[in-house]
């Protein structure tokens, strides 16, 4: 009986020795992480439905004696434009509680015309236009993709919205750490060139009190 109790006591003591060092041990506070920020920016990518009109004009496309006719027609089609930031240019630098985030501008990442919407019915030909040929249709189809991409790339309001989306999500991510840890972070934004949301240079962002 005494032997058994000694064995049980020895087991309990060994267990206590193993568990005690981990008692009262404080886990380090979590901190903002660049890998997670890049994952957030990938989720901030916006798919935009884009319905577009491309206008095709060729002057003096056909001629009879001194008479010339232009070719002029419109095509209506739709597609999807994906807007986001290049995460390879995103960077974060932490100095104690000061977080400096380098944010690249938004860009058109993908552009895809829905070919099912490019049909002969999509064409509207001007009244006095020269005859439209199959070759004209083919050229117009080719232009549709480039035209949509150019339209999206030139849409500063939409690009600004995409960049601000990424910025807002990153700011929310940092503010969540404040809730988790009780620490206060100062966020400083540095915008890479071609910025569409703020002037170039550093801008500090403080939480509302």
């Amino acid at each position: 009986m005494t032997g058994i109790f000694r064995k049980i006591s020895a087991l309990l003591a060994a267990g206590w020795l193993v568990l005690m060092p981990s008692c009262g041990k404080k886990e380090p506070l979590p901190q903002p992480d660049l890998t997670r920020m890049k994952a957030i920016c990938q989720l901030s990518v916006m798919d935009c439905y884009y319905h577009n009109v491309v206008k095709f004009r060729q002057e003096d496309a056909s001629q009879f004696l001194w008479l010339t006719w232009d070719k002029y027609f419109w095509i209506e089609y739709d597609g999807v434009v994906t807007l986001g930031i290049d995460i390879s240019q995103l960077d974060m630098d932490m100095d104690d509680k000061r977080v400096k985030i380098t944010l690249p501008p938004a860009e058109v990442q993908k552009c895809r015309v829905n070919e099912e919407t490019l049909t002969p019915d999509s064409f509207i030909v001007a009244k006095d236009s020269a005859r439209i040929t199959a070759e004209d249709e083919r050229l117009a189809f080719e232009r549709a993709q480039a035209d949509m991409e150019a339209a999206a790339a030139g849409d500063r309001a939409l690009l600004a919205q995409a960049q601000q989306r990424a910025q807002q999500l990153l700011e929310d991510y940092i503010r969540n750490f404040e809730t988790l840890t009780g620490e206060h972070y100062e966020i400083v934004w540095e915008y890479l060139e071609d910025t569409v949301s703020e002037p170039a240079g550093e801008v500090s962002s403080e939480p509302a009190s």
């Binding site: 901030s44 319905h51 009109v53 206008k55 809730t179």
Partner: protein, 209 residues
Amino acid sequence: MEIKFFNPLKSIKKMKRATRLLLIGVVVGIVLTLVLVNLGQKKEKEAVAKTISTLEKNVQVSELSTYTSIYNGIATVTDPEKPEKVKYYVSYEARIDAGLDFSAIKMEGDLKNARIVVTLPDIRLQEPAVDVSSLDYLFMDDKANQSAVTADALKACVADVEVETKEEKAILEMAEQNAKNVLRALMEPMLEQDLPDYQLVFAGEEEQS
């Protein structure tokens, strides 16, 4: 015939002391395990409820609930007395915002499958905004080319974009997917911290995962 009943206490008394102690140890172990498992499940339930409450608060204050689609279309204006006769076509540029009310998002903990299930409210289309300076004309009837054409053309464009965008499922589908991506970006970092074994799924998608 004498019926003998099994008497556990008598059987235990007959055992050797070591065996008795081992049996007591096993029974105590089983009871402790059941108590700990029960306590563990209760704690998990509380942790899930607390995390959901925090996630809901974070999501409700987010300003990322609207998405812009570009609709550059062509409206057809016909002769009111002869509907088959087209007076002119007018191309226009418009924007439509689609959004959902983040405060109406519902979240539920699924402890059995270690998931937080998010149910989104319906996506709504806002009133489209047509840019009047973007109007361009293709006249089929030269008599229609008058200074007063703009007012009628604008009405036709607004009517056209309202009809076309209501029928276009892609706008709502894309808005929904964008909303899900933003919600993941907002919620997953916190979920990773508080409930690392839990997954975020959207209602309707949980059967697939």
